[in-house]
Symmetry: C2
Subunit: 564 residues, 2 copies
Amino acid sequence: MRPFCAARARLRCQGGIGLMSPRVPSASIGAPLFGGSLSRNTRRRRPSVSSAPFRFRFTSAASTKVDVQKGGKGQKHKGGKGHEEGVTPRSEDFGKWYLDVLKAAELADYGPVRGTMVIRPYGYAIWEQVQSWLDTEFKRTGHQNCYFPQLIPYSFIEKESNHVEGFSPELALVTQGGGKELEEPLVMRPTSETMVNHMFSQWVKSYRDLPLLVNQWCNVTRWEMRTRPFVRTLEFLWQEGHTAHSTAEEAEEETVRMIRMYEEFATKMAAMPVVTGRKSKIESFAGADCTYTIEAMMGDKRALQAGTSHNLGQNFAKAFDIKYLDQDGELKHVHQTSWGVSTRMVGGIIMSHGDDKGLKLPPFLAPIQVVILPIGKKEDQLKAVNACAQEVHDALQASGIRCKVDSSTGKSPGWKFNYWEMKGVPVRIEIGARDLETNSCVVARRDKPGKDGKTFGVPVESESLANLVKSTLASIQDGMLEEAKQFRDSNIVDVATYEELKAAVEEGKWARGYWVGSDELEEKIKEETGATLRCFPFEQPAGDGQCFMTQAEAKEVAIFAKSY
Amino acid sequence: MRPFCAARARLRCQGGIGLMSPRVPSASIGAPLFGGSLSRNTRRRRPSVSSAPFRFRFTSAASTKVDVQKGGKGQKHKGGKGHEEGVTPRSEDFGKWYLDVLKAAELADYGPVRGTMVIRPYGYAIWEQVQSWLDTEFKRTGHQNCYFPQLIPYSFIEKESNHVEGFSPELALVTQGGGKELEEPLVMRPTSETMVNHMFSQWVKSYRDLPLLVNQWCNVTRWEMRTRPFVRTLEFLWQEGHTAHSTAEEAEEETVRMIRMYEEFATKMAAMPVVTGRKSKIESFAGADCTYTIEAMMGDKRALQAGTSHNLGQNFAKAFDIKYLDQDGELKHVHQTSWGVSTRMVGGIIMSHGDDKGLKLPPFLAPIQVVILPIGKKEDQLKAVNACAQEVHDALQASGIRCKVDSSTGKSPGWKFNYWEMKGVPVRIEIGARDLETNSCVVARRDKPGKDGKTFGVPVESESLANLVKSTLASIQDGMLEEAKQFRDSNIVDVATYEELKAAVEEGKWARGYWVGSDELEEKIKEETGATLRCFPFEQPAGDGQCFMTQAEAKEVAIFAKSY
C-alpha cells in the first residue's frame, strides 16, 4: 500500500463537490471548534442539550409536581425569562452565538466522535426542505436519482490522484472487515467521482446513452481537522450530481444550469443573495476545466461557498476511459460535469439570518411557518382558546401552510414567545380569551420585534386569515432577502489598489476589484490578508479596468474575502 | 484493542433492524453469489450492463448510422426479438432469473468492492416509492426524522456486546483517518442502537421528553460473506426508527403499530401478502424482549423477512443509563423500541411478482405506471401519433398517474413491448395510425399476456381514459395481491408430525404446526431440514393443539420455512 498522505492537497469545501485546492491550506476558523482528540474523548459527555435555555417538548402533559427541564435541577420555566438565558449576542461573539443557536434551537448536537454531529429533528427538517426543492428541480430537468456504494477501492483513489495533480483527500480508511485485515484498504467516499466514473465507463457505449444525468443523496466522509457543525464536519450529507454529455457545449450548459439552480434556490428559498461566479484556477476543483460557485455573505461578513458546479471537461473521461460511439462512427470521450450542495446550506441559512433572539428562518424553508399559541388561565378559557387554535390550525393547513399549535402547559406565554422566536418560526398567532370575544387573533412577525411586528384584531375567518398569513409570509421572505442584499452590498468595497483591499479585508468586508494577477499574487494576498479569491462574478461592471495589484489592463473584477 | 471477531453470533437479517441470531449461522443461499475475493478483484470489470438484452435509453435521437446498444458490436434491435434474448426462465433457475432481471430491467449493478451494489435509477425509483409511503406514515404517527453519525467508537460496540449476550456484528473498521492511525478504531454503523442510545441518554431527562420518536434514513454496513443484490449486501439503505417511552404498555403499542404499518405497506402497496408474527427466542434481536416480523413468500417459496419491529424493553435503557424523572418524582428507565425496513424490500417485490417476461411491478409502487407507445412508420403518421401520445400523457399526468411516452426511434413496437414488460410497467397504451382515425387507443395489461390483457378501441378522451386507466391499475394491484395470496396459501402446509414437516420443507413449502419445542429442537429442525422458525403468526387457529415435535399441548402454531 502506498502512503496516502503524501500529496500536498486537501480535499475540502463541502459546500460543493470535492473542491480541491492544491496550494490552499485549510482556512483557519476563529470561532470555537467542536470536538477534541478522537481517541481519548470518544465517550466524553458533550454538554447536555437539555441544559439549553429553551429545552421544551411538544408533548403536552398534565400539571407537574416536578419540572426537570433544566437538567433535572427542578427549575421551573415560568415567566418570560427565557430570553435572558438566551444566546450569546451575535455582535459579541459570532462563533459562540452560532453554537448557542444550534443548541438552543435544537438544530444539532455533538456526536461522540470528534468532528461529527447529530442532526436533530428540527435541523433535519430544514434539510428536508432543502432536499425537497432541489430534488424536484433535479427531476424536472431530467436527472434521475441512484445510489453508488460508499466504499471505494484504494486503487481508484490512487488512479484519480495520479490523474489529478495534487489530489490528496483527507481519507478515512477501512482496513478490517468481518474480522480480517483487508488486502487493499477501502476508502469511505469523500466524493464519488472515481466510483461514478468507474460505472459510467461500463454504462456509456453509444451516443444514445447520452446525456447521462444522475444524482445521489448520501453521506460523505472527510477527515477535517477544524470542524464546525453544518459548516465543516467529518461526515456530512449532500447531493452529488454527475453527468456525461456528447459535446463540450452541452456540458458547459449543464454546469451553468446547475449553478443557476443553486443560485435560484439560495435567493428564492433561502433568502440568501449569493454572488454567483467562476472560481480562480487555484480555487477550482483540480480535475475541472472550470468551477462555478455561489458565495454567500454570513452575518459576520465571512464568505460561505454554498454550492459548486464543475465542468470536468474530458479529464475524468480520459482517466477512466469513458468513450462512446458517435453517430459518425467514431469513438469519442464524453464531456462531464459534477455539482453539489450539502448540509452546509443549513449552516448558511442560520448564519445569514439569525439574530440575538436566535434562529430566523426564511418562511419558504421554515418547517413550521406559523405557530399558534392559545393563551388562557382558567380551565374553561383554555378549552375555548385551544379549540379555536385547532380550528385556525386546520384552516391554515388546508391552505398549504405548515403550522403547529403549542397548547403545552406549564409554560408562560412569554416563555413560549421566546422559545418559538429562538426556533425562528416566521409567524406567531396568539389567541387569548379576550380575542375570542371579538372572534379575532393577533398575528406577530418574527422579523419585526415588539408591537411593530404585531397586527391586532385579525378576524379568525379561515379564508381571510389564510390569505393574510400567506401575504405576511411572502412579505417576510421578501424582507429577509432585501435585508440580506443590503447587508451584502453595503459590505462589498470596490478597490483600486492593494492597500484598499487590505483596508477592506481588515474591516471584515469583501473587496471587489479588477484582477489579472498571477497565482503567486493570489497566494500572496491570502498569506498577507487571510482573504481568498472567492470568484469572478458572472455580473460584471461594464468595460475594462486596471488590475488593482499589477495595474495591467483587466477585463474582469474578482471578489476577495475571508471565508469559512 | 480487543478482538472483535471472537463472539459467536452474526448480525444479520437486513430486512429488519439488527436482528441478532446468536446460534443461527448465516443461511446458505443456493443461488449464485455476486462478487469475488475483495482485494484481488476490486478492479475486475463486472459484466457490462450494456450487454443486457433490453439496453435502451429514454433520450431519443435522430436515425442512426451505427447502433451500438450491444456493447459496441453494432448489432441492431429491430423486430420483436427482445424476449428471445430475455431472462433465464424463472422455473428453470430462480437465482439466475433474479440476477438476469436485475440486469435486464436496469435495477442494479455490481459495485467494484465485493458484495456492494449500485442501485441504478430505475431500482432507486422503486426505493423512493417505498420511502415516500413509509415516510408519510412515520410522520403522520408523530415520528421525526433526524441523522446520527455513521462512525461509532469501538468502545460503544463493546459496551453493547457486553450487555447483549452473543452480539458480534460483522463489522467494518476504520483504523486510519487523515493519514494517521487512530488510537481507537471506529465502526461503520451496522445499526445505530449504540449511537442513538448514547444520545438519548443526554436528551431524556423528564417524562415531558417522552415519548421520543425518531427515525433516520441512512446507509449501514455489514460484512456479509454471502451476498445477493438488494437481499443481502455489504452496504444497504434502510430506515431505522428508535423510540423511548415512559411505560411498557406504550412501548408494546408502538412495536405493534410499526409492524402493522409494515404489514399494511407490504400488503396494500407492494401486493406482498406477508405473514405477520412474533419471532422465536432464537430468531429475535438479542437485545429485545420481543421481535415482530413480516415474512413474505418469494416466487421460489423461500421466506423473506421483509421488516422487523423490536420491543427492546428496558435492556438498552439500563445499558446506556437512560432515565427520566417521572411525575411522581422518581427516576425510571425508559422503555424502548426500534424497527426497520431496507432496500431488501425492493428485492422482495422483484421476487414476489416477477415472471419469465421480467419484472412485474405493483401499480401503486411502479415509478412508471403507464407507458404510452406511439406507433407509426411514415413521418406524418409519426408526427400525429406522437402528438396524440403527448396529449394522453398530459391528461393522465394531470390525473395523478405516473406515465411516460416512449417515442424513441430505431426500435420496433415489438422490441418496445418486450422492453417495457421487462421493466414491469403495469399498463401500456398503444396509439397507432389506425387508432387515430377512430380517436382511440389500445390499453394493455402487464399481468395478462397477449390479447386477453388488451382492450381495443378505447376512446382517447382524457377523463374517461384516465378513469379507465385508474381502474385498470387498481384491478392489476388487486389481482397481484390475490395471486400472491393464493400462491402463499397453497404453499403453506399444516403439519402434525415432524415427518410431515420434513416432507413439506422438502417440497419447498412452508410448514405450519403447533409448537412448544425447546430451542434445541428448533436448532435440530434447522440442522436437519434447513428450515427456520419464521414466526408465530398473529393470526392463529381457534383452540389449542399438540406440538408436532413433542406432542405436548401447545397454544400456538409456528411457521417453519427455508429463507433468504
